[in-house]
Symmetry: C2
């Protein structure tokens, strides 16, 4: 199967499971569910859960149902972080992926609550579907531990803090910021795929290396797209990083050096999993896809 088909099938599977875990309802909580679903279905590329699935199927082909709750959990956590990052008190963004941001549609109070609820629901989804996962309780706890660490002050939230309150404009600070803000959750997605798939310590290490390079490459690409993309592709104004005096690879290094760093990290990501041979195919394709994406 070619990569595009493979990717679309995975993305569809995630969409289906997200709908399953957040069903439409007509009870007193229907408004918050509507707000949560709005952002979950606002055109996200599903990169993190697809990475988890891609890693998992290296070790356990054709058993991906086992990790769907964990794959959806990582997407819910990513989505909650976007809702909160877009709030007026944070980045104050009106558009994301061409759609109005959550608080522009549902108001600030509901956006705060919907974000909270998605983080909470990520955990509930895993905890309420243990039976379907056919993973040992120890493995589930271990996966949750990786997930929550990557999402907290030593991960995603910590990254957002240092992005909001930039203390210095150095390369070291920038990489620290992005390892936390974007990298940690991508790393956790890949590690969970490996651990749930029963990978060896050695294999988990290599996959982690892959995910670290991929996470940095992903962020550099994001920073480059903020300058070079078509506004219609990106779904938000171009050049907003520079306008908002954001610390990014492009504002720090310039476009050319950023592009060369992007290629270098992508190569290093691919290099890290070369030893897997044919089994690495989807991960190599993921790295290439993230390198070449237009949005």
């Amino acid at each position: 199967m070619d990569f595009k088909n493979w990717y679309n099938i995975k993305a569809k599977k995630i969409d289906q499971h997200l709908s399953l875990y957040l069903p439409e309802s007509d009870n007193r909580q229907k408004n918050i569910y509507e707000s949560m679903r709005y952002s979950l279905n606002a055109g996200g590329k599903r990169i993190r859960p697809i990475l988890m699935m891609a890693v998992f199927e290296i070790f356990k082909p054709n058993e991906e149902d086992i990790i769907m709750p964990l794959a959806c959990a990582v997407e819910m956590i990513h989505t909650y972080s976007l809702i909160h990052d877009d709030l007026p008190a944070m980045d104050d963004d009106d558009y994301r992926r061409g759609k109005l941001t959550n608080h522009k549609v549902f108001g600030e109070a509901m956006a705060i609550l919907a974000g909270d609820a998605l983080l909470n629901k990520a955990l509930e989804t895993v905890l309420q579907n243990q039976d379907l996962m056919s993973l040992s309780p120890e493995i589930i706890l271990s996966c949750l531990k990786m997930l929550m660490r990557s999402a907290g002050t030593e991960g995603m939230i910590g990254g957002q803090v240092v992005d909001m309150f930039v203390a210095e404009r150095s390369m070291e600070y920038l990489e620290y910021m992005h390892r936390l803000k974007t990298g940690a959750l991508i790393r956790a997605a890949c590690q969970i795929g490996a651990v749930a798939g029963g990978a060896s310590e050695e294999e988990i290490l290599k996959i982690s290396q892959y995910s670290d390079y991929l996470g940095l490459a992903f962020q550099i690409k994001d920073d480059i797209l903020d300058v070079t993309a078509e506004e219609s592709d990106l779904g938000k104004p171009i050049g907003s990083d520079e306008k908002n005096d954001k610390l990014t690879y492009v504002t720090l290094l310039g476009l050319k050096e950023s592009e060369s760093l992007l290629e270098q990290y992508t190569e290093q990501a691919i290099e890290s999993i070369k030893h897997l041979g044919d089994k690495s195919q989807r991960l190599v394709e993921m790295a290439e896809y993230l390198l070449e994406r237009k949005k």
Copy 2:
């Protein structure tokens, strides 16, 4: 030991463990930790973790170290909900317990992130201290499941949603709201104490009954205090519920009927655990303390 001493010893134990799980640091995340600790240490009564400990020691006396991570997790979740509820987009409160609210001290962006981080840290605290807890992985997962359900859209967050967007001013709606907003987390605290303590199904049921009545009584008392307390005791303006047109027991039923309902629910809470005999002492005292508190 008299109740007051017993209570203070428990509260101190919680304070100590919270400091342990959120140590002062001098790294790049020190600002968010400062913000998290500010609200954790802003004079909370520690009711939820103490209830958990009180229930737990009925079944496993002198082993409370086992549940300290879970006890602190419930306090972190309670605290994050207060930080977010106080935000300008939500209840817009400047003071709580006589201190400036989190966003008044640290700004809105940090308050949102500190709230997110406390919810996340609650989970991390349990997941990173499994070894100390000497509970089976199955029991830990079961406790986390109760905790997250009680904190989500079918619990605390759902309660805040219906409080923010009141759809009808009826007794049935009011009780639905408070069973979710306040009741669910109090119930989870008690249930976790029972399950972690190895209580039987029958015992868990009785404890749950106790906690449901206690949760309602607790909320009625809160609503009464908003009218009758000394401002210096309460640490925030008196009469704010009526001013903000809030749906409360007092605004719906009046003061006299609310007081009689408070006594009735307190009695029913105590009745639910009567069969435990002497072992119920602390839970009875907790119910009486919550009935008589002045703040």
